[in-house]
Amino acid sequence: MFDLILQFLLTGITVGSTYALVGLGFAIIYNSSDVVNFAQGEFVMIGGMSAVALSAGDAGLPLWAAALGAVLITTLVGMALQRFAIAPARGASVVTTIIITIGASIFLRGVALLVWGKDLFALPPFSGNTPIQIGNATVLPQSLWVMGGGVALVLGAQYFFNRTTLGKAILACSCNKTAAHLVGINVGVMLLLAYGIAAAIGAMAGILIAPITFTSYDTGVMLGLKGFSAAILGGMGNPMGAVAGGLLLGIIESLSAGLISSGYKDAIGFIILLLVLFFRPSGLFGKASVERV
């Protein structure tokens, strides 16, 4: 029994790391611009798909170069989303911006469908396919890549936003745009950067997970949903909360798939999410909101 649970935990942490990265992207964009970006899952899809496309065939790039190219492409897409879809709608209501990002995600999916068709693609694993024994449980080397990559990205984001001037400038915009502008921060550029960073993190998640779960033009939908759940579970606007929420969600899903029923695993995940919200209406680590009159 213990071995089984260890196995489910390892699977859960692998999946949860992807959710955590998508949730982190959600939190970064929400923090910088108050937008819930429903196209976040599409960044994961574009990252995975363009890495496959760049590395495929005889003339394909080596894996590291393809990954780098894919991250660059996705970053540009993220910035374009901010520049051409979010920025022109400044001052629109929350629901309107949500619909804009939904429109953007449909648009990006449509482009992916056009470029890559409906097939499933996979990247080769980064370092072989021999399972590693941990006690009586096994783990794929790629899972270690996902977990390690997740930790590195989260720590990197933490360092960037708390220690570097550029990261602090982005945070300043999220606190108060006018004040940030007054101390000489170019708010427009910072928003562009925030979207670029969120897209890059999404792309890296997509590349890391592509050898395990495969990728196709519509993988972004479910991942985006899970990322949103992770961000909400942790408390909107708290990046580390989103990461914790993502891991928790992955582990809950994996345990309930293994111990209860795989058909109901998503339902159990959402039921727990609802219960958490009923008792903590601002998520696990979110600050309680106060209505001003």
Binding site: G103, F107, G110, L273, P281
Partner: protein, 347 residues
């Protein structure tokens, strides 16, 4: 009478369309779907547009109504009418039970909770195969009959659903202008302020949530009988998102806007089919473009535009025309297709 003039216009359009275009696919077949979508959008608009409570799980109640009718009539040979009533009672109870805890949430948390609710209902429909037929769906649902008049052709369904739409719109208009409608709009503005005015916000929110769910359940039941077949795909979270899009696209807090949004979102994919592979991309682009350039929704945005044009056409006695708010740009849909052409090149 002026208050309901839009309703008469809508009713006239519903009556005239099949007379002007008899046996037209877009009127009797797509029109029926559009009518059902419009009913759903109007009900969701009561909750979202007027009470300000976002719901990304409205398709769940549509599905509960549809499956209640489908299971009772097709599996247990009930008469459609008592099945409809029991389905309504069932949906109403579920909506009432979840309403209080869910509606305590606000903003994105409410969006997530309703989204989760919709997905949970969908998963149960898929998983309870012995009852619902699972992912394959459930067929053999008998058609409705009203006092011996069997609703068994596209034209008759058009009449039934058209009538239902007019009734639902009329109901929505009356609710909004009633005492409880004013309470809804008050709590949309500020819950604390509404409470200070003596409005029981929790009860008001629960009430409108249950009402919207009941209207959706009626639509679901009619949908099940009209299609004679239900499958979980029709009630997925994508459909919930589509409903929200209808409301926002048409213009929040406008019943006619919701109808307009539903019409556009039903007919647009039908028209875009000619673009084949480009369909999804163009649909997404149009959706984005409309929301960017008409953030208030089409109904409000186009109204403002018309007013502006009329003002330009007839010289006003007052010299300085009152300045329109900056958000109402005079360039509506034009730039959207341009952007698409740009993207074509990259793709």
């Amino acid at each position: 009478m002026k208050r309901l003039s839009g309703l008469f216009l809508l009713a006239a359009a519903i009556v005239l369309l099949p007379i002007l275009f008899p046996d037209n696919y877009f009127v009797t077949v797509v029109g029926v779907t559009a009518g059902l979508n419009a009913i759903l959008a109007v009900s969701l608009n009561l909750l979202m547009g007027y009470a300000g409570q976002i719901s990304l799980g409205h398709a769940a109640f549509f599905g509960l109504g549809a499956y209640s009718s489908a299971i009772l009539t097709a599996r247990y040979d009930w008469n459609p009418w008592p099945a409809l009533l029991l389905g309504l009672a069932f949906t109403g109870v579920i909506a009432y039970v979840v309403a209080r805890p869910i509606l305590r949430l606000k903003g994105h948390y409410l969006a997530m909770a309703t989204l989760g609710l919709g997905i949970i209902v969908h998963i149960f429909i898929v998983q309870l195969g012995w009852l619902t037929g699972g992912p394959d769906g459930l067929g053999g649902i008998p058609t409705l009959s009203l006092f011996g008049w069997a609703v068994d052709s596209d034209q008759r369904w058009y009449i039934v659903i058209g009538t239902l739409l007019v009734v639902v719109v009329w109901l929505a208009l009356n609710i909004i202008d009633s005492r409880s409608g004013r309470a809804l709009r008050a709590l949309h503005g500020s819950e604390v302020a509404a409470e200070m005015m003596g409005i029981n916000t929790a009860a008001t929110k629960t009430g409108v949530f249950v009402l919207a769910a009941l209207i959706a359940a009626v639509a679901g039941s009619v949908f099940a009988h009209q299609q004679a077949f239900v499958s979980p795909d029709s009630f997925s979270f994508f459909f919930s998102i589509e409903l929200v899009t209808m409301v926002v696209l048409g213009g929040m807090a406008s019943t006619y806007g919701a109808v307009l949004g539903a019409l556009i979102l039903t007919f647009l994919p039908e028209l875009l089919v000619v673009f084949e592979d480009y369909e999804v991309m163009i649909f997404g682009g149009i959706l984005m473009g409309m929301m960017i350039f008409l953030p208030q929704g089409l109904f409000v945005g186009l109204g403002d535009l018309l007013r502006k044009l009329r003002r330009q056409a007839t010289p006003t006695p007052r010299k300085p025309a009152p300045q329109e708010p900056a958000s109402h740009k005079p360039t509506p849909q034009k730039p959207a297709p341009q952007k698409e052409e740009k993207r074509h090149g990259v793709a």
